[in-house]
């Protein structure tokens, strides 16, 4: 099938036509003809988005999300590849489990699924999982993470960083010093002090990031830092990069937009666990630093940390509620709101931070390519104009734990193409 996207603004530039055939972009120009025409007048064309950090919950918590529902949500959000985090049940710490997740992704076919392998057996933090077996499996794992838990043992972290060099892997660290965050409920600061909630201090993230940057430099390995949330972390990463060390980092959409004072005061009441997430929402100063870091490239990419939870795990008192928020279907809108509307990033920058760079970090072949003839035809068409309240009932995700319900956000994904085939058309699954 040949598609001809008419009058799309490639990376926000002047209107042009894009012809897709046999999974590849065959031609870009004006006045092209031939193929099924898709009118993209006024729409922005971006390369298909790549998420380094997605919780698809399968196997084990299919009540919250499945590979099928999660990849449908991803496609609706403009993603063409997602990394499925390893903290499933059973944990994705063997070739068998990562291959199962990979196969489920192949079967749904609306978005590529790249399984992340656990660093340690059962996320236990005690001995290395069979990283090589996962790398050599059909899933070809390149990103390893105990996400949700920190690889806090310095020796184990050093070994993991060294070991994955053999197959060009990367350790994605969930930076959280465990002793400093026992029973932690929210960012430690003025709000936690008033609310009487146990604090999650910024230093617990920053201390691990500093240590791991030094370790990565010492052994000459690649390190990726998950969901950076503090201004101090940004400073440390900036310093590590200035040394030429091989450190990359991601930030979530929610850490680019939301702050911890929402827990005290918001339209959905005080102590609403819809805002409970790990790492926690931080302060306005942190948000400002994260935005600037994403703009100047200190933080390489946006990753959603899409974390679905069933209603009952959020409809409770704060202390008993699960941590996490969904984000696949709102990511691009939140990035537009926090980065584009503020003038910090143009659409070429968005494409770089949400497609090219995450694809490079995850070694995801066939993704994150420039919109040019010869590239894989994975494309998002995005309308930046409409601004409407977020309505979670329309989400493809099985879960509804979005912090943006009722909030007016700009933009809407109109179409997504995965290797030349539409997965989303007119804002709906194709």
């Amino acid at each position: 099938m040949t598609y001809l996207i008419k009058n799309a603004r490639i990376l926000g530039g002047d209107p042009a036509d894009i012809q897709l055939r046999d999974g590849v972009i065959t031609e870009i120009g004006t006045g092209l003809s031939g193929g099924v025409e898709i009118d993209a007048t006024g729409l922005i064309a971006l390369p298909g988005l790549v998420d380094l950090h997605t919780h698809l919950r399968e196997p084990g918590r299919e009540d919250a999300e499945t590979v099928e529902s999660g990849t449908r949500a991803a496609a609706l959000g403009g993603f063409t590849a997602v990394h499925a985090m390893a903290n499933t049940s059973p944990v994705a710490d063997t070739a068998g489990v990562v291959e199962q997740v990979w196969r489920l992704g192949q079967e749904t076919g609306v978005c590529d699924v790249r399984p992340v392998g656990a660093v340690t057996v059962g996320l236990g933090g005690e001995r290395l999982a069979e990283l090589g077996a996962m790398a050599d499996s059909a899933a070809r794992v390149r990103v390893f993470s105990d996400d949700g838990k920190c690889v806090s043992d310095a020796v184990l972290m050093r070994r993991a960083l060294e070991y994955v060099k053999a197959f060009d892997g990367v350790i994605a660290q969930h930076a959280q010093e465990p002793r400093l965050t026992e029973a932690a409920q929210m960012n430690e600061g003025a709000v936690s002090g008033r609310l009487g909630l146990t604090g999650w201090p910024a230093v617990a993230e920053e201390a691990i990031i500093a240590r791991d940057c030094l370790l990565a430099a010492h052994v000459g390995s690649r390190l990726h830092i998950c969901h950076v949330s503090t201004a101090g972390s940004v400073e440390i990463i900036r310093w590590a990069k200035s040394k030429g060390w091989n450190v990359t980092a991601e930030v979530t959409p929610h850490h680019l937009l939301l702050t911890d004072d929402l827990i005290e005061n918001s339209p959905v009441g005080s102590y609403n666990p819809i805002y409970k997430v790990n790492p926690p929402l931080r302060t306005a100063d942190d948000v400002r630093a994260l935005r600037e870091a994403l703009a100047d490239g200190t933080i390489d990419c946006v990753a959603t940390d899409h974390a679905p939870h069933p209603v009952e795990d959020k409809e409770s008192e704060w202390g008993a509620a699960a941590m996490g928020m969904i984000g696949l279907e709102t990511a691009l809108s939140v990035v537009q709101e926090s980065m584009v509307e503020t003038g910090l990033l143009d659409w070429a920058g968005v494409a770089d931070r949400m497609s090219a760079r995450p694809a490079r970090i995850g070694r995801v072949e066939g993704h994150g390519m420039p919109l040019a003839a010869g590239s894989t035809a994975s494309i998002v068409l995005y309308d930046p104009v409409p601004r409407v309240p977020v309505e979670p009932h329309g989400f493809a995700s099985k879960s509804r734990n979005t912090p943006y319900e009722g909030l007016s956000l700009p933009g809407r994904v109109v179409a997504t193409f995965l290797r030349g085939r539409p997965t989303v058309l007119e804002g709906k699954l194709a």
Partner: protein
């Protein structure tokens, strides 16, 4: 006044004074031989206690009964809650039973805020986690006002585990509203890291603050804090922050000693200080019933006294 009493911050100066003045009137009733008033007849007050607290529960129960309300005591132990029922389902059950007021004690900070979003009745916070305990602050203010005639300009020193204390949080807010000057005294480990943003003074040195105090309120120190390295030992804590007879002597003549109970005698407060004439500890308990009567009366809009 607000429909709920969840935080001391919910109370304006006028609200707080209305509660204290109403309590003054109700205290006169308590002095009569027949203590019961008919004002809340036919209204239902539920005591929903997820934490053991016999003192507070009995205080609320007595208050509601003296106003002729029907009282339902619901404690988590041995109830559906211990079988895994969620707070929301408990709330919906109470809602279906038609509770006019729910008095809640819960180990999680913010539980009363959540409850308020699920039930129509008035919510009274009887202590939530390490957040607040507003009726304790009201009864403390009531006790201070009776002893010191006014709170305006009075210097109140609160000593102890401020970090984990709901009593301290509510007192700081309410005393500020009522015009008192509050100083918190604690080892730095037992203060929130951002305590400088609170509307009060902070000191690490009890001895320097005592001569300038009209009220010294000692907070209970949980022994488990010691195991978490908040301070080296009970003895060291007691030496640096405990109120003994020597320290009592440094306080101005008219100054009073308060404690929300239960006390660790010999730890934060010496036995002879707790039992001295300057101590208001027993009065606080009696005033607790009176102030809770005033709160229930005003929230449930009882008939005129």
């Amino acid at each position: 006044m607000n429909r709920h009493l969840i935080s001391a911050a919910d109370l304006s100066r006028d609200d707080a004074l209305l509660i204290l003045d109403t309590a003054d009137e109700l205290a006169r009733v308590s002095d009569r031989s027949i203590k019961k008033l008919p004002t809340l007849r036919g209204r239902t007050v539920v005591n929903l206690f997820f934490e053991d607290s016999t003192r507070t529960r009995i205080s609320f129960e007595a208050a509601a009964k003296r106003l002729s309300a029907d009282v339902i005591n619901f404690s988590a132990k041995g109830s559906s809650v211990s079988k895994g029922e969620s707070l929301k389902d408990t709330a919906l059950t109470l809602q279906a039973m038609g509770a006019d007021a729910v008095v809640i004690r819960h180990g999680a900070s913010g539980a009363p805020h959540r409850l308020a979003s699920w039930v129509d009745g008035s919510i009274v916070n009887a202590g939530d986690g390490t957040h607040e305990h507003p009726t304790q602050a009201l009864l403390d203010a009531f006790t201070m006002r009776r002893r010191l005639s006014t709170l305006e300009g009075r210097r109140v020193t609160i000593v102890g585990d401020v970090l984990h204390s709901r009593v301290a949080r509510s007192n700081v807010l309410l005393l500020r509203t009522l015009g008192a000057e509050v100083t918190l005294v604690a080892p730095p480990t037992l203060l929130p890291v951002t305590v400088e943003s609170w509307p009060c003074e902070v000191s690490y040195d009890l001895d320097s603050v005592l001569p300038k105090s009209d009220v010294v309120m000692m907070l209970r120190v949980q022994t488990e804090r010691m195991n978490a390295a908040f301070f080296p030992s009970a003895r060291e804590y007691s030496r640096r922050y405990g109120l003994d007879r020597d320290r009592l002597a440094k306080m101005p003549e008219e100054a009073i000693v308060m404690h929300p109970g239960p006390m660790n005698r010999g730890m934060e407060i010496a036995a002879d200080v707790a039992d001295s004439a300057r101590s208001t500890i027993v009065e606080q308990v009696a005033n607790g019933v009176t102030i809770r009567m005033a709160v229930l009366y005003l929230l449930l809009g009882g008939e005129t006294l």
